[in-house]
Amino acid sequence: MTTDWLQEALFEPGGKAAVPPRRLWGRILSIAEADAAALPRLLEWAQERVRCALLIGVTGAPGAGKSTLIGKLARQMDSSGHRVGVLAIDPSSDRTGGAVLGDRLRMEAGGGDDIFFRSMATRGGRGGLARATVICAQVLAGFGLDRIIIETTGTGQTDTAIAAVSDPVLLVTEPGQGDEIQAMKAGVMERADVIVVNKADLPSTDHFCAALDLAMSARASEVPQILRTTSTSGEGIAELAGWIARRPVGPRSGFTSLSPEAATDYLTELFRVRLRDGFDRTSDDAGSDPFDIVALTTRIDAVIDSRVIGRLTDLDLLEKEVT
């Protein structure tokens, strides 16, 4: 039933992939989130539709101002002609499965509101992402959005999954978060492309940035850019948007120009989502094999270097052992 509906929404009568009306986007994301059986069709559609989109990952400790920053950044990009989508992730309770998704609160109303905004619960996803984040981002890119902002749950240290699926990665922090910074050092800190020092109107900002600069310069790897913002007033948002726009498109950007290394990360995530769906399905799904990775692989094969796929075939065994 869902698949008929999806077929009609995504493909023209002749079988050509089409962009569904905006009012259906939310429903289609729900299918991507919930219905593993629909994934091959969604991927088939996305493969034809997706050109290039920037996936902007935003992470950082709770309270640092991620949501407010994203609200301002999305509006800035929207007003400079981009088509913007936001996927805001909050944790599901592992006790009840429920969640309070509050990231919309920080998105100010007003204007034409072309910005697509979807709150997602993690539903068992790890590393600060929801299980279906990758699929949903790809679907949004298929709708023609060219700036997709992914907000992680914000648990800091463990939010490293975002680095595998987005480029650039923004780490949002605030003056006075010294201890948290230390804690994050070995995690997402080393995967960030830019460190956004938010609430830069606080008097301790200069001191904090100097300390951050020193800590960063001691590192052997690539030093991330440090930018200051004050989300509440909008100070520094234009500069941040400008930095993102001027930045050379990296290997993790877009879906059609993945490097083998980035493709590995991306596919790992994709396979993981598919596998987790498979594990969760019950035996009443007779007739379809939830572990039919081969069918999925065949579809992605056309866009990804087949050597990468070859390296990934052991993953399902690995996942089985782990889970």
């Binding site: 729900s30 499965g97 429920g98 969640a99 309070v100 919309r104 609160l105 905004f117």
Partner: protein, 135 residues
């Protein structure tokens, strides 16, 4: 079984947020995903949120009279956009007369003061299931 998704918010300048927050956390404890949109909502904003978030039920907390003006407009806009998402109201100021008026206009449920939480959860669960059946 996917979690039920419900929007919770307040119309206009209704500032009373404690009830909505308490109900939201109880619904979350019951395994639902609550898209909490809070205060200052208009029917237009709610309809656009319902589309992006694909919620199963819309829950409006009413502790000021504004719902009497805004609710019919919300129902009209939902119909205009081919949305069958059920609307429930809850709050202290909803009189018996207004309850039957709202139900008459197409509101799916009204929860007055002292409604047991179990009843709210059961009704929302049934409404969400009904929506899925209709599709």
């Amino acid at each position: 079984m996917q979690p039920i998704r419900i929007l919770v918010g307040m119309f206009g300048v209704d500032q009373h947020e404690v009830g909505a927050l308490a109900v939201s956390s109880a619904l979350s404890d019951a395994g639902m995903e609550v898209v909490y949109v809070g205060r200052f909502q208009t029917p237009e904003r709610i309809v656009s949120t319902v589309q992006d978030e694909d919620v199963d039920v819309i829950g409006i907390s009413c502790h000021s009279w504004e719902y009497i003006e805004y609710t019919p407009e919300l129902l009209r806009l939902l119909a205009e956009n081919d949305l069958t998402t059920p609307v429930v109201l809850g709050g202290s100021v909803i009189t018996a007369a207004d309850t039957s008026d709202m139900i008459g206009q197409g509101v799916a449920g009204v929860f007055g003061p002292s409604t047991p939480m179990e009843l709210i959860i059961d009704d929302i669960t049934a409404l969400a299931a009904g929506r899925n059946l209709r599709e």
